[in-house]
């Protein structure tokens, strides 16, 4: 089960790593790209203005009225505007990016010549070749701008696709993880149900054997014992008989789970304690608490077995020690506490390895959807605390 949960946990971690490693930079890139696209739109708009300006400037340059001061000022303004615009760093970067071999400065050299010419008030028509070249440059600028914009758009669309893909991947991972968790839950529930069934069947079988031993065999034996006494049998035989009967009675008691629909829990536990105390060197103090075992016979049946396991465990492994057991119902739960001042063991893992019956206890607590805490240490005794929800709580 632990492996499964680690496996599952890995999957969740993987999902989170994918998200952080890929999606976060993508989102950053995305923002940058959209910013660039917005800037690009602005540049295109200004390009349109410049193209119109140049068309007017070209017309003026080619006209005969260039000597007119007013139109010359107008022309100069337009030319300076164009010059300024084409030398902006953004435009230069874009042009370099789309066609690295031709830089705008290089192209718009003619513009400088034209400006120089206009300043020196040279007569029209001499600009013919130069204006043609500038027009070409303007057109080629449009081409490089368009190329750049296309590339940018392609980049944005790839980015969007990648994002969609990653989100899709993440969703698939989540779905798989959820599915796995669900399947695991079903598996655990099934195994728990099976275990419950097995335990129930075992208990029935044990109760049947206990009944046979108790009502049949022990009964016959005690009858024989009574008759033997009258016939002056050897003393040793009588002792063996007595021992046998008491052994069978103990055995039957340890096999049987009391029926808590009709018996009181505290009485049954007290009997258990008396038997264990007579057989071993442990001293048990049972501190009864408020409880209603008749309403939850199944849970109290398990708890009875848990106490039995604890006591058997203490008698076998803890050495001679004092044991305290407390049991109490509160807030729709049963609280069970066991502590002894016996030998203890290094850790719970060691306890499980040593087969100290802890497994049985843990299984039973799990079967009841309970929680169990265990504190121990070498020479520090054993301390077990359980909280078991009651039926009315389980069903909501």
């Amino acid at each position: 089960m632990l492996t499964i949960s680690i496996y599952l946990m890995r999957r969740w971690i993987l999902a989170v790593i994918v998200f952080i490693l890929f999606l976060t930079p993508l989102i950053y890139l995305n923002r940058q790209f959209f910013k660039a696209a917005r800037q690009m739109d602005a540049i295109f708009e200004s390009y349109t203005h410049i193209a119109v300006d140049w068309a007017q400037a070209e017309y003026l340059l080619n006209s005969v009225y260039l000597t007119d001061d007013e139109s010359r000022d107008d022309l100069m303004g337009k030319l300076y505007g164009i010059k300024q615009w084409v030398t902006t760093s953004e435009l230069r970067r874009i042009a370099e990016f789309s066609s690295p071999d031709q830089t705008p400065d290089h192209h718009f050299k003619e513009l400088d010549l034209i400006i120089a010419g206009v300043i020196q008030s040279e007569e029209g028509r001499i600009y013919g070749d130069l204006t043609g070249m500038v027009s070409d440059d303007i057109i080629s600028l449009y081409v490089s701008l368009k190329t750049f914009r296309d590339k940018l758009d392609a980049g944005v669309s790839i980015l969007l696709q990648a994002q969609m893909f990653l989100i899709f991947l993440l969703m698939i991972l989540i779905v798989i993880a959820l599915e796995d968790r669900n399947r695991q839950r079903v598996r655990i529930e099934t195994s728990q149900r099976i275990q419950k069934e097995i335990t129930r069947a075992q208990e029935e079988e044990r109760n049947r054997i206990a009944l046979d031993l108790h009502d049949d065999i022990a009964q016959e034996l005690s009858w024989m014992r009574m008759n033997l006494a009258k016939e002056n049998t050897e003393i040793g035989h009588l002792e063996v008989f007595d021992k046998l009967i008491s052994r069978i009675r103990d055995l039957s008691q340890s096999l049987r789970t009391p029926d808590f629909t009709s018996e009181f829990f505290d009485d049954a536990v007290r009997d258990l304690i008396i038997t264990v105390e007579n057989r071993s060197s442990i001293k048990v103090k049972y501190i009864p608490g408020n409880k209603n075992s008749v309403a939850n016979p199944e849970i109290y049946g398990h708890l009875y077995r848990v106490i039995q396991e604890c006591l058997t465990n203490a008698a076998k492994h803890a050495g001679s020690c004092r044991v305290f057991i407390e049991l109490q119902e509160e807030d729709h739960s049963v609280f069970f506490a066991y502590r002894d001042d016996g030998r203890g063991f290094k850790s719970e893992g060691e306890g499980l390895e040593m087969g100290l019956g802890l497994k049985g206890i843990r299984n039973r607590v799990m079967m009841m959807n309970g929680k169990m805490d265990l504190i121990t240490g070498q020479g520090k005794g054993l301390n077990i605390q359980c909280r078991i929800p009651l039926k009315s709580d389980n069903n909501g």
Binding site: H214, Q219, S222, M226, I245, P288, Q328, E330
Partner: protein, 212 residues
């Protein structure tokens, strides 16, 4: 008035009944011993005679011997009813005692324990040697110990700390509650355990088993 010479044995095991019968015959030679294998038969016998001793098994084919004993004792309080069973269970011991039986014996040994009890004039509740621990445990479970069961978990904690000799403030600090709440708990504990002083509180803790 009960017949001072008739005894009724109720047990569903005929051989065991025979053995018991001869045993009692040895102890009470003048008595008339009647037998029954079930509660129905016992009912029939009781309609004819009024025995001064009834010996009952618990698990009988048609019912529980203890409840039958209770009914019979209510009708004829003079009759001494003894339980003779295989069950070594304190729950049944308590039931038998509450029903008004005179003794609770296990089918064990040569039967000398129950014979001794039958002969004894002592009206106290008697048990077989192997049930002595059970009787002791049952008797210990009364008074304070029984009332202690009705404390809540928190109250038990508070009770333990007070029993260890801590003051209000220390108890409150240890449990993370206000001294006022601690004093309310203490008041409730005193009420539930029916005690009124610190000395009684320590005594109660010792009785319950919290202090050694």
């Amino acid at each position: 008035m009960a017949d001072l010479d008739s005894i009724l044995l109720v047990d569903d095991h005929p051989l065991f009944r025979n053995g018991l019968k001869s045993l009692i015959k040895g102890a009470f030679p003048d008595s008339a011993i009647r037998e029954a294998g079930s509660l129905a038969e016992a009912e029939k016998e009781l309609a004819e005679i009024d025995p001064f001793i009834v010996i009952l098994d618990i698990t009988l084919p048609d019912g529980n011997g203890i409840s039958f004993a209770g009914n019979h004792i209510r009708k004829s309080p003079e009759c001494r009813v003894f339980i003779l069973t295989m069950h070594q269970r304190s729950g049944l011991l308590i039931q038998a005692r509450e029903a008004g039986c005179q003794g609770y014996f296990l089918k064990e040994g040569d039967g000398s324990a129950i014979i001794a009890a039958l002969k004894s004039e002592d009206k106290a509740f008697s048990v077989s040697p192997q049930m002595k621990d059970h009787l002791k445990a049952v008797e210990e479970y009364n008074g304070i110990v029984q009332r202690y069961a009705f404390l809540t978990r928190r109250e038990k904690e508070v009770f333990r700390l007070f029993a260890e000799g801590l003051g209000y403030k220390e108890v409150a600090w240890k449990l993370g509650i206000s001294p006022r709440t601690a004093s309310v708990h203490r008041y409730n504990i005193f009420g539930k355990l029916n005690i009124s002083s610190d000395v009684e509180l320590v005594k109660a803790a010792r009785e319950v088993g919290l202090l050694i």
